[in-house]
């Protein structure tokens, strides 16, 4: 398990900024990147996620212990592959027709989107998590483990130590991690599947995943 102190987030939109807020509250050092010049997102980061730093995506990838992909899936070719070598990468992206266009133009149909990301990042370790809950639910529902009514976030990955690392982060962000299986099982979390959009506790989420 990696001792994570620093989280990099690629994407400074609805999801990226929300995750930055939660990660700051949990005490992590946070580096957020948009598509280009950090100047463009500096003010948003400063106001909406105080304490997080706006940087270039290459820098976020280099500095951080773990990197979350929170950008449009359609832009995945811009991910800094080399810089992410050897790193643990959390894929929180979904194929969203409205933004990304037809799925077939982007990904092969016999593979989950996170498997495709693993293929694109052959020397990184990809875990799928934080993709199924809407950003406003993430914002509204985060709560300490001691508070009742905690919601769950599903995790799919191939390496036990990485799953543990990601689970620990999810816990720190304010959610119960729910391990659902190897990376390919993450298909159950994609749009069009019952668990997509789920804002549920662990038991209910497990039911949706197994449906």
């Amino acid at each position: 398990m990696v001792a994570v102190k620093t989280i990099g987030i690629l994407g400074a939109g609805k999801l990226g900024i929300t995750l930055a807020q939660l990660a700051r509250k949990a005490g992590y050092k946070v580096y957020v990147a948009g598509s280009g010049d950090p100047e463009k997102i500096a003010l948003s980061v400063q106001v909406l996620a105080p304490g997080a730093h706006a940087v270039r995506s290459k820098d976020a990838a280099r500095i951080s212990d773990i990197v979350v992909l929170a950008m449009p899936l359609g832009k995945y070719r811009k991910i800094p592959v080399d810089t992410l070598e050897g790193k643990l990468v959390v894929d929180a992206m979904n194929h969203w027709w409205e933004v990304d266009g037809p799925r077939d133009d982007l990904l092969s149909s016999d593979m989950s989107s996170s498997e495709a990301m693993q293929e694109f990042l052959p020397n990184s370790r990809v875990v799928k998590a934080l993709n199924h809950m809407g950003y406003h639910d993430l914002h509204d529902e985060a709560r300490p483990a001691t508070m009742p009514g905690r919601k769950a976030i599903a995790v799919a990955g191939d390496v036990q130590a990485d799953i543990d690392t990601v689970s620990q982060i999810i816990n720190a962000l304010g959610f119960d991690p729910l391990y659902i299986g190897v990376l390919s099982t993450g298909r159950a979390l994609e749009p069009g599947h019952p668990a997509f959009g789920a804002d549920e506790n662990k038991t209910a989420l497990l039911q949706l995943v197994s449906r």
Binding site: I41, V47, G192, G197
Partner: protein, 350 residues
């Protein structure tokens, strides 16, 4: 009618996407009849002193309005005070010059009551329909907003376009009487869009359609700070959320749930999320962004949200799903006669 005088001129609107309504036999009305219904409703809203009617552009079967400014123009000829807004105009898949021309025309017809609310829209049917590539989603909007902001100066413009036409000292008509067409930007939760609105000195309308409204307070702060950074005076911020009002809470919930569910599920189907549960609906009604209940309940919720967010304009999206025309009519009556005065009172009382 005498209005309570307050230092802040709060504004209240009604928004519609032209959802197909149902008649007294619960039969779905035609697109044409649904459009005429919206015109009648806007006339009623004007009589009741509602400040704004905003009509959203959609290109989907369940919504009748694809050309808001045509409908607004008809409303203009039958009303006196109500502001006539789009909500939103999908600028990315439109021609900024034509948008300016159409709304400047509406402004003339209505004696200066036109408002354009520019947005990216949450639907993208308009892209293939008008021959645009979804992959240019971001770039299209960015370039067109810039061109549009130049058109608003109402001076001849020279423009080098990539996704748009190039113009050489082009002068566009009609000119408005006020010298500037009222233009807003409608945004969802994207921080970048908030900063962009501030950069162009456009007032902001936040579409808050789910979750607790307070989380948007930092966006208003962001808007104000960004405006300062660009040396603009920040404009008052508006918000827009869906709702339904009936005489009692129980009645409102009972009537609204199946309709909201039908409307949401239809969208969810194409986006891959699951049908709305009663619990989800009730969460939104209690602590989230659906304003459903008796006039008193809805008024309290609106006042609370406006304060929490820091909004000075509230637009209620009405007539969600295949709703009976008579229920829509009753809702507008309650909104104009009871809810708006009560919200003003609550906001002034602090």
């Amino acid at each position: 009618m005498k209005k309570t005088t307050t230092s802040t001129p709060y504004l209240f609107g009604l928004d519609s996407f032209g959802d197909l309504a149902t008649d007294s036999h619960s039969k779905l009305m035609s697109h044409a009849a649904s459009i005429r219904l919206v015109i009648d409703e806007a006339v009623l809203a004007d009589k009741l002193g509602v400040d704004i009617i905003a009509l959203g552009e959609h290109h989907r079967e369940e919504f009748a309005i694809s050309s808001p400014e045509m409908v607004l123009s008809a409303i203009a000829s039958k009303t006196k005070n109500i502001k006539l807004a789009s909500g939103v105009t999908v600028l990315s898949s439109d021609d900024p010059v034509r948008v300016y021309e159409r709304f400047a025309t509406l402004d003339a017809v209505s004696g200066g009551r036109a408002q354009v609310i520019l947005g990216r829209g949450s639907f993208t049917e308009s892209f293939p329909l008008f021959g645009y590539d979804l992959r240019d989603y971001e770039e299209l909007f960015e370039e067109k907003v810039e061109l549009f902001s130049k058109l608003l100066t109402e001076k001849p413009i020279t423009w080098e376009g990539t996704h748009t036409q190039s113009l050489d000292k082009a002068d566009i008509f009609p000119k408005t009487e006020s010298g500037r067409l009222a233009t807003y930007v409608g945004v969802g939760g994207s921080p970048n869009s908030v900063v962009r609105a501030a950069a162009y000195d456009f007032p902001l309308v936040l579409a808050i359609i789910g979750g607790s409204p307070d989380r948007f307070a930092p966006y208003v702060d962001l808007y104000k700070r960004a405006a300062e950074q660009f040396d603009h005076t920040p404009h008052p911020v508006g918000m827009h959320s869906p709702g339904f009002i009936a005489d009692t809470d129980e009645q409102a919930i009972e009537l609204a749930f199946p309709l909201f569910k039908e409307a949401m599920d239809k969208v969810g189907e194409s986006r891959g999320w699951q049908p709305m549960t009663k619990q989800h609906f009730m969460n939104e009604v209690k602590g989230g962004s659906m304003y459903v209940g008796s006039p008193e309940t809805v008024a309290k919720k609106i006042a609370k949200s406006m304060k929490a967010v820091g909004a000075e304009r509230f637009d209620l999206v009405y007539g969600f799903g295949p709703m009976k025309a008579s229920d829509r009519y009753r809702m507008i009556e309650l909104y104009g006669k009871e809810v708006i005065p009560r919200v003003r009172e609550l906001l002034a009382g602090e």
